[in-house]
Subunit: 255 residues, 2 copies
Amino acid sequence: MSTVQSVERAIALLEATARQPGRLVDLAARVDLPTSTAARLLDTLEGTNALRRAADGTYRIGPLVRGMGTTTDPGIDVVTAAEPHLNDLAAELDEAACLSIVVDHDTITIRQVDAPKPVQAEDWTGTRVPLHAGSTGFVVMATWPDDRINAFLAGDLPPFTDNTVTDPTELRERIRQARTERVIWTHAEYVVGLSSCAAAILDSRGHAIGALYTYGPSYRFPPAERADAIAELILARADRVSADLGHRPTPGAAT
Amino acid sequence: MSTVQSVERAIALLEATARQPGRLVDLAARVDLPTSTAARLLDTLEGTNALRRAADGTYRIGPLVRGMGTTTDPGIDVVTAAEPHLNDLAAELDEAACLSIVVDHDTITIRQVDAPKPVQAEDWTGTRVPLHAGSTGFVVMATWPDDRINAFLAGDLPPFTDNTVTDPTELRERIRQARTERVIWTHAEYVVGLSSCAAAILDSRGHAIGALYTYGPSYRFPPAERADAIAELILARADRVSADLGHRPTPGAAT
DNA sequence: AATGGATTCCCGCACAACGGGAACTCGTGA
DNA sequence: TCACGAGTTCCCGTTGTGCGGGAATCCATT
């Protein structure tokens, strides 16, 4: 499999910019390139509208990329498949319903539908959460083979709150739990005071490509029945999205 | 300004894919590249998660691009996008150039650049004008679907001057006119003695989010040629702002 | 004015990207 | 079952293109 160096570097710059806008030297340092090379690539990206450079020299994501991310691809992509279910879910739960997808070692929320009731909900769209720090991450990893999990757990696992699980053994335990129950609740593991509940979305090959989840202030989900009811609804919806994507659940199979 | 060929080609492929998913030969043909070259670039893009290849070989936009497009970063917003054009426009017209945005059922002027010539121009910044009473309102509504227009026209439409149009039928006529011409002149419909000319600004999803306009004492715009010339310039600038925001009116050739 | 950092420009070198074509895979129809 | 063609992958010789060190320039800051 051959790859084109300059394109890889350009994409790396694009991603770095998406994560955090910055200026030439800054971005060059982040992706570890000589400034003159980075300058040339950024120049090109700017020329194609993939990036924009502000008056002060700061590069940020440009209209082209934004536009592409929003294309309404008639095909069978997650977003369109999940959209109706997000709406239904938000109504059923009377809580915000979100869709996130897996990118690298994070899940990124790409769509959020707020509860019909008047709530002052924050918009989670665009947020990247590392796999070990969110409910979505657990259900995603639950579908992975063990060695892949081990490889991931061997990496850096920064804490975000006092509740963030960073101990590999404990994480493995949570993942095992997610594997059997297929839904999981997390409490204040990424942001203090917030709980969330997620279930994975699988594509036709059985790979977890994202997750459906809801979240809200922890006090709103008292342990008992309500939490379970929510979990059940989310799982049901996630399964339907998976089915819409062509996923055929294989009874008993772990992979 | 130097550019990197392979990156440009890769972005072109990315854009082509965003417009319409397709397979190798198809995409290669669309951007006019030898298949082997296109294959290599697509390979790289797939490797970086910028593209995804389905089982049947179809390439579609990948999670990376989706994620980047939805970052919380406000990025390039209307104001910064419009600023330079406001300056140019004020110079070209030798009249004040303004930017207004849509809020509820009004347009609010948020920026005004006065004509270079010494004029005693009033500053319109901060003024809310109901959609039915200003040039900006007409061009904005011109982009709406009919039922939304009807819903709005069913509401309260207070007059401000003797010239304010309040009759739904007549308003519909003006809107239709704005729809075909994409620019419109109004005369004393909000303030006696003032005329103004506006064109809409569209975001990447095609929604009208504001308008570019100019205004001045009616006696300064005698019907004939000058008014048309002004309209043309405003429309051109508004289109450029829309383009800068990612609005893609009609797919053209990409370099 | 002077300093230091960021950015742009320049240019020779080397190798990465190119693209023509062969080989291969896969689906289709006879 | 085989032969065919469209689509895709692989290979390899050639060259043009991207590379990156460094000088020159720009731009804040003091």
